[in-house]
């Protein structure tokens, strides 16, 4: 300390001080500055094989260069995450002309095929990448689940139902149920905003918040219904139908029996 005090009038002291100040400011900026929405071109998979798969399966609607046609949008810049979601959940290739692409159980492509397709589409222009495993693991932490639940109710529940059971949109479109959906697909849907769904980029919901939402969904999926029958958790429609048909039916049956004369 004494040595430092003795040299404070050294001609180079000012230079050292400014250099130190700049260093601290730079480090602080790098640590705290908001990061812009990121986009990348890298993706696991073989882009050349992906191009062949694309030409054989997708180019009829999306064009030979993925530039889009009257039958399908351009895929330039949609990113690997979008391809992984659309093809990985069976929405693409489109199974039928419908208000929205139906998701299918039987997917025509292997995981490697999907990765190759994603790699080729990602090589066309930067776009959201397939998320890392780090934020896909559902947390078994009460705080994370509670936070995820609040975020889900604010951002997702109006379309996907508060229990994630899905719901109706306009003109035959639906928000699909979220029970049994892979965490990676939930994450990709938030990042890319497929079809009617809006985009929730990393500035809107941070990767940690997305992970909390996934944790909440996993939690309610494994949570038994405290009342016995959940009736699909779709609210007044199924509950009302049950009350009117089964409940009132039983009451009417009792009333008829009360009024009938014994034989």
């Amino acid at each position: 300390m004494k040595a430092l005090a003795a040299r404070r009038r050294h001609p180079l002291a000012l230079v050292v001080l400014i250099a130190l100040g700049l260093l601290v400011m730079g480090a602080a900026y790098a640590a705290f500055a908001p990061r812009p929405a990121e986009a990348s071109t890298d993706a696991r998979g073989d882009a050349d094989r992906g191009r062949e798969l694309f030409l054989a399966n997708c180019s009829t609607c999306h064009g030979l260069q993925a530039q889009g046609t009257r039958n399908g949008p351009t895929l330039i810049g949609v990113g690997a995450a979008s391809v992984d979601f659309q093809v990985g959940t069976g929405r693409m290739p489109l199974a039928a002309t419908a208000p929205q692409a139906p998701d299918r159980e039987d997917i025509d492509f292997t995981e490697q095929d999907v990765a190759d397709l994603s790699a080729w589409v990602a090589s066309l222009a930067p776009g959201p990448a397939i998320p890392d495993g780090e934020f896909l693991e559902p947390l078994d932490d009460d705080e994370a689940i509670a936070d995820g639940g609040e975020l889900f109710r604010i951002n997702c529940a109006m379309c996907h139902n508060v229990a994630g059971a899905g719901g109706a949109l306009t003109r035959g479109k639906v928000a699909p149920p979220l029970m049994g959906v892979e965490p990676v697909h939930v994450y990709e849907a938030m990042v890319t905003g497929p079809q009617s769904m809006p985009v929730f980029n990393d500035a809107n919901l941070t990767p940690e918040q997305k992970q909390n939402i996934i944790s909440y969904l996993t939690y309610i999926e494994n949570q038994p219904a405290p009342g016995g029958l959940s009736l699909g958790s779709i609210g007044p429609v199924s509950e009302g139908l049950f009350a009117w048909l089964v409940g009132l039916g039983a009451l009417i049956g009792c009333a008829v029996w009360l009024g009938a004369k014994s034989s």
């Binding site: 604010i154 109006m158 306009t170 980029n201 500035a203 219904a225 009342g227």
Partner: protein
């Protein structure tokens, strides 16, 4: 139309003819009958009397039919056994309830709640239902079912009783002297008329008048748009195309009544290509490069309008399916809502954060009395 006397006579005449009409084939109306009487146009029609007798005879009681249990002792014993079984089921239900209460205590897990609810409910259901069904079955099969006639009493009191009551009232009036002492009568009327007035004063205690609370929100010049629920301010650069942000005014979480304020100030922020949106000169400069902010409170009954379809740019209210078109500044295109969602004019501050230019131009949410 003829007079009622003529009609009555006519009806009697027609009925007297006893035509051999099959029921339902003949058409008869009073108009037709009038024409018939005045030799008017149209053919003569037959009147179906419905073959009703002038007076219905009392059919009396139907012969009493005995039940199986009344005539057959074996059936009676069977019914007895059934009733006993039902009461037995009720007893089993009660025991099950008591056992379940101790066997499946609530441990805070959903599984234990489910098991407890199910067993307690089933036990109580069995015990009450068995008891009720058993009692009714007992009454229906084994208790006497003979028909009994009870005459209905006259509601009218006897003349002597009525005169006595009137006398009592008259004597009372005379003895009070209310007719002879007008001063007392008038002061009584005055006092009674004043009595309800304090009640009117008490209406004032129902609460303060809302004032301008319904037409003002937390938004104002320079208030930053923040993320719901964290309250982090939002940068214009973060709102990418197709994004939707659920927005509250910055500082809402620290206000004295956050929920009340949020119910008015909640905003939906979204970005679409500016050229897709219809140009309205009055709203020039209310958006930031296609970033639009609209009130999230439905103008129908105030639900949060938050279902945004990114491709059609429709905003849908989950309660009654009111649909607002973002490309037409949230005009109502379907559903019960009557007014467009109010738009919040926004701009960007020096640091790149989105801020409100001012409060909403009109009250948000559903209509109320003063708003009209």
């Amino acid at each position: 139309m003829s007079t009622s006397g003529e009609q009555g006579g006519l009806a009697k005449r027609l009925r007297g003819k006893k035509r051999n009409a099959r029921p339902g084939t003949a058409v008869a109306t009073s108009e037709a009958a009038v024409y018939d009487d005045q030799s008017g146009p149209g053919t003569e029609v037959e009147r179906d009397t419905g073959h009703l007798p002038d007076r219905f005879a009392n059919p009396g009681l139907r012969p009493h039919v005995h039940r199986m249990a009344d005539t057959d002792p074996a059936a009676a014993r069977r019914a007895e056994r059934q009733v006993t079984t039902l009461f037995g089921i009720s007893a089993i239900g009660t025991v099950m309830l008591i056992v379940a209460y101790f066997a499946f205590p609530l441990e805070g897990t959903f599984e234990s709640i489910r098991l407890s609810n199910l067993t307690l409910g089933l036990g109580m259901g069995l015990s009450l239902f068995g008891l009720g069904v058993g009692a009714v079955h007992w009454a229906k099969t084994l208790m006497p079912d003979s028909d009994v006639v009870e005459e209905r009493h006259d509601l009218h009191g006897s003349d002597t009783d009525r005169e006595m009551a009137v006398d009592i009232l008259k004597t009372g009036t005379d003895e009070s002297g209310i007719g002879r002492r007008p001063l007392i009568r008038n002061s009584l009327l005055g006092a009674a008329a004043l009595l309800p007035l304090p009640g009117v004063l008490l209406l004032g205690d129902l609460g303060p008048l809302p004032g301008r609370k319904l037409s003002e929100t937390l938004w104002g010049e320079g208030v930053r748009l923040a993320s719901d629920p964290s309250g982090t301010p939002i940068r214009a650069s973060d709102v990418t195309l197709g994004s939707v942000f659920h927005v509250i005014p910055e500082g809402l979480n620290e206000s004295s009544h956050p929920l009340e304020e949020k119910a008015k100030a909640a905003v939906l922020l979204l970005r679409i290509e500016p050229e897709k949106v219809e140009d309205v000169p009055e709203r020039e400069g209310w958006d930031v490069d296609g970033i639009f902010a609209y009130s999230k409170i439905c103008t129908h009954v105030g639900c949060p309008v938050a279902l945004y379809e990114q491709q059609t740019h429709h905003l849908l209210c989950p309660c009654h399916q009111s649909t607002f078109d973002v490309t037409q500044h949230c005009k109502v295109i379907f559903g019960p809502a009557k007014r467009a969602l109010p738009q919040l004019p926004i701009s960007v501050d020096d640091e790149g954060y989105l801020i409100a230019q001012r409060d909403f131009e009109e009250p948000v949410g559903p209509s109320y009395w003063e708003r009209g």
